[in-house]
Amino acid sequence: MHIQTPLREDVIGNLQIGSKVLISGTIYTARDAAHMRLAERIDQDKDLPFDLQNQIIYYTGPSPARPNMPIGACGPTTSYRMDVYTPKLLSRGLKATIGKGSRSEIVIEAMKKYRSVYFAATGGAAALLARAVKKSEIIAYEDLGAEAIMRLEIENFPVIVVNDIYGNDLYKEGIAKYTRFIRIQECNHYQRNIHLDNNM
């Protein structure tokens, strides 16, 4: 299905996990360093360099554009690093984020609360994704280089719905479908002996 920015409430409500969506319109880029600055401004109750209301943020730090090209390679970066800032941005009216990889439970809850969705773009398909970008312009934090905030004009930018506004999660459902439990017994036995620092 096609959707257009700024995002309308009824459009967001109809998005279902696993749906392929082609986005057209304006979106904004921001990753780690830009998020840190945006969150700081929200904490200080200051204005942001752009209005978040009904907008989409794309987690990407594009490679430099060649002369006469609208943008360089621009695939998604891993989203969990932005989790700590995301609820604050959603509270200011942000309606969707694009990245790759799972969001935290806190972010998923915040997406339900603020009626916002999370899309995944294909990580490492950055040359392919660049074709959907027609125009790019740095609008804030130019000193951050690849991490500056850019306004992108996109046409049919391909994403997949990972989290809808109802708390569903495509990663959890997709993986569960293909997990094979052949050696689970063995694994459980050894789990007792090995102390993993990052259990799931």
Binding site: A33, A73, G123, A125, Y171
Partner: protein
């Protein structure tokens, strides 16, 4: 008899610059083959489509000279230096760094390095590189360049197991590392495992194991079996391409082993994404 082989620093710079660009635009045939095979083996339609996208992406990158991935990586450079080699007109490390500066500028590659991990100001030229050197009893220099992405590097882990943990302990740690990482490192991934040595050396072994071409078997039959078993277990996790569910989570598991202390069993897992960018050049005889 003078057996010295002279290699100019400027030649090293030039070759390194070429490697940076080549690695980021041109996917190696071993990776392309692995993705094609994965497409055939995969049963999930969503994952199949991802593989198609990756092949299309590789084609666009090659023809349009645009990076495969916007994260053009931290430059990791492995140098094997012949003992008979004399570098003239400059110094090895500076020659490599100048090559990276040039390659990343001329290739329109992203500069992803900050000068300090806490203050985080970009160096603007993607240096410094991480350089590993090793002497070899020959008259040549072999330079292997790897553009290592941050997303997959972040999902890597290291642990100090006990000798009692053995094979199954290693297996469990590696599989668990991939399980925890899920979609984050851009699967299908390549899993590099270093077993033995010391805390630091295990990590280096893990990274070095990634340099072996995909689709090749380890020369040690016992390691080859372990790699196969690990790959099977990882693919049973069901994570699939981009973590959307599927049978192919990893394209390969590569293991390197090294002697270690009687008390120790270090295990390091270095994950690489499907944008597996490794290129090599040999200078001298």
């Amino acid at each position: 008899m003078d057996t010295r082989i002279e290699i100019r620093a400027s030649e090293i710079t030039e070759k390194v610059a070429q490697l940076c660009v080549d690695a980021n635009f041109n996917v190696n045939s071993d990776v392309l083959n692995a993705i094609k095979e994965s497409y055939t083996a995969e049963v999930s339609p969503v994952a199949k489509e991802i593989f198609t996208e990756l092949l299309e992406n590789a084609k666009i990158a090659r023809t349009c000279q645009i990076p495969i991935c916007q994260d053009t990586g931290v430059a990791v450079v492995f140098v094997e230096i012949g003992e008979q080699v004399e570098i003239t007109g400059g110094h090895l490390y500076e020659a490599i760094h100048e090559g990276i500066r040039r390659g990343y500028k001329e290739g329109f590659l992203r500069k992803s390095i900050v000068a300090d991990p806490l203050n985080r100001v970009n160096t603007g030229d993607n240096t410094p590189a991480i350089i590993h050197t090793e002497f070899i009893p020959e008259g040549r220099i072999k330079i292997t360049f790897m553009a290592k992405g941050g997303g997959c590097e972040n999902m890597s882990r290291i642990t100090m197991l006990t000798p009692a943990d053995g094979r199954e302990g290693i297996m469990h740690f590696v599989v668990e590392t991939v399980k925890v990482a899920r979609a984050n490192p851009c699967p299908p991934i390549i899993v590099g495992v270093g077993i033995g040595g010391t805390f630091d050396y295990a990590a280096l072994l893990a990274k070095k194991s990634l340099l072996r071409p995909l689709g090749t078997q380890h020369t040690n039959p016992d390691t080859a079996v372990l790699e196969q078993e690990m790959l099977e277990r990882i693919n049973n996790l069901g994570i699939g391409a981009q973590g959307l569910g599927g049978r192919i989570t990893a394209l390969a598991v590569h293991i390197e082993r090294y002697p270690c202390h009687i008390a120790s069993l270090p295990v390091a897992v270095n994950i690489d994404c499907h944008a597996h960018r490794v290129k090599t050049v040999i200078l001298g005889s």
